[in-house]
Every structure is written in C-alpha cells, then in structure tokens.
C-alpha cells in the first residue's frame, strides 16, 4: 500500500502531552500500566490496545 496524504495537521509537544493525557483519562488507566500491558503483549481491552498504538506511535511509549 502506498499513501497520499490529503489533509495534514501539526501538533506541538505540549499538545501531544495533552492528547496522551486525554487518551489515558478516557480509559481510566495510567501510562505505566499501559506500558506494562504492552510489555506482556496482552491488553485488558481492545480500546487499550488501540490506545497503546496511539501513545507509543506519538513517541510517548
């Protein structure tokens, strides 16, 4: 698959921090807990698996 980007936005590092904070708050989980689940390769829920991709993909893993 090749990708052509159609729209684009930029986030500051402070905004990334806020994205991560909000993501974790919605799930009611801490970053250390999510990291531990990733280390074990087992997530408590699909929502947490997807959240880990987002958090780590933004460089906060």
């Amino acid at each position: 698959m090749t990708t052509t980007i159609e729209t684009h936005e930029e986030a500051t590092e402070a905004e990334v921090d806020e994205i991560v904070r909000t993501t974790l708050a919605v799930l009611g989980i801490g970053l250390d807990d999510l990291k531990e689940q990733a280390k074990l390769g087992r997530f408590a829920s699909e929502a947490q698996r997807r959240a880990w991709f987002l958090v780590s993909g933004l460089g906060r893993g």
């Binding site: 698959m1 090749t2 990708t3 052509t4 980007i5 159609e6 729209t7 684009h8 936005e9 930029e10 986030a11 500051t12 590092e13 905004e15 990334v16 994205i19 993501t23 990733a38 280390k39 074990l40 390769g41 087992r42 829920s45 699909e46 929502a47 698996r49 997807r50 959240a51 991709f53 987002l54 780590s56 993909g57 933004l58 460089g59 893993g61």
Partner: protein, 210 residues
C-alpha cells in the same frame, strides 16, 4: 490509500495525518489534532448498514534527515460493529518495527472462545489467556500482510459487496507494494539479489564503491 479504499469497499473516506514537532506522525482516516485516534470505517460502498468496520492506523517517523517517513508501527483491524468492543474483533493485523516484548513484530490477533489455552501456557506472568492475546506470526517485517490483503479478505469471504473493478484496483496497489518491498529487500541483501539475478542469466557487476 483513499483510492484503494474508495475504489473497493468504502465510500468517501479521506486520509489525513497528524505530525508532531519531534517527527512522529499518525496516518489514518479523519485523524485530527483534537481527535487523533482514527474512526472506524464502515465497509459499505453502496451505503446502508455495514457488516464490518475497519480500524486503520499507521504510525511513522521522519528519518534523521527529516525527508522520508518510515513506518514504525501499524494496526489494521476488522470489527463487527463501530463500537469496536473486545468480542467484536474479527482479525487485527499489527506491525511493530521494534517490539518491546518477545513477540514477532508482524503478527495478527483473532478473537474467539477457547477453553484450553491456559492448559498450554507455561508462563507465570498472568493467570488467564484469551485467544486474542495470542500473537500469530505473519510474514515478517518485509512481507507482512497488507491493507490490500485485508480488504480482499473481506470481499472473498463475502462480508462486503465491493465496487465493480475491485480486483484490478487491489492488484494494482498490491503490485506497487510488492515492488517497493522487493527493492528494499534487494538493497538490504545485495549479494543475495545479485546471486539470484545471476542464476537467472543476468550479468551483475558490483559497484566499485559499495
């Protein structure tokens, strides 16, 4: 990506990206700064209620020169509803370039009920194991399953009524992907590539300054 999706199993989706000042990027459908997690995509090109939904998220980083994006991880998952609940996962194809655990970076998850998985678990890190916890290895970094494969799966397994001409579109995108991966594999394994070409009758001359 939009063309691949909209010419086969979706209707009007648009790929967007969110980048950060540290060089990370999220690529997905309708990714926004205020809502960076991609939304599930209904696979119903003619409208109406979809039977399956696609969650698609690619994560990339800029190379040190800041010129090219390299995919660091991705997840492509099919669910049976837009809620994307645990027991609604049909299949999830994950890729992690540099895994932080012992599991293969290219793997897939499936959900379902098995009662005997704990009987074949020797570890002591957890008490229970579900089917979707397993990391089924697929293809390795270079030849892992693609979005094209996943979309074709939904069509050939008759979960989606595709658009006319879907097969040609998938073949075209798949050929491009394969070409990119084969070239990359050859660049990283030049002696093997040269040997294979020589066996096929090509004359291959190594560079004077490799």
């Amino acid at each position: 990506m939009s063309h691949l999706l909209n010419a086969t199993v979706t209707n009007g989706v648009r790929v967007s990206t969110l980048t950060t000042s540290s060089g990370h990027a999220v690529v997905g459908v309708n990714v926004r700064k205020l809502r960076p997690d991609p939304r599930p995509i209904p696979l119903a090109p003619a409208g109406g209620k979809a039977l399956v939904y696609l969650y698609l998220a690619h994560y990339c980083e800029l190379d040190p020169e800041g010129r090219y994006l390299t995919m660091t991880q991705s997840t492509m998952s099919l669910y049976t509803s837009a809620e994307m609940a645990d027991d609604e996962l049909l299949v999830g194809i994950d890729y992690v370039r540099d895994p932080t655990n012992q599991f293969p970076g290219s793997h897939l998850h499936v959900a379902g009920q098995r009662d005997d998985l704990d009987d074949i678990y020797l570890g002591d890190e957890r008490k229970r194991r579900k089917l979707r916890d397993l990391h089924l290895p697929v293809g390795g970094k270079r030849f892992r399953p693609t979005l094209e494969d996943l979309l074709a799966f939904t069509i050939t397994e008759e979960m989606v009524e595709p658009r006319d001409g879907w097969r040609a579109v998938i073949d075209e995108h798949r050929a491009t992907w394969t070409q990119v991966q084969v070239k990359a594999a050859a660049r990283r394994n030049p002696e093997d590539a040269a040997a294979a070409l020589a066996e096929a009758g090509w004359t291959v001359t190594p560079p004077t300054d490799p």
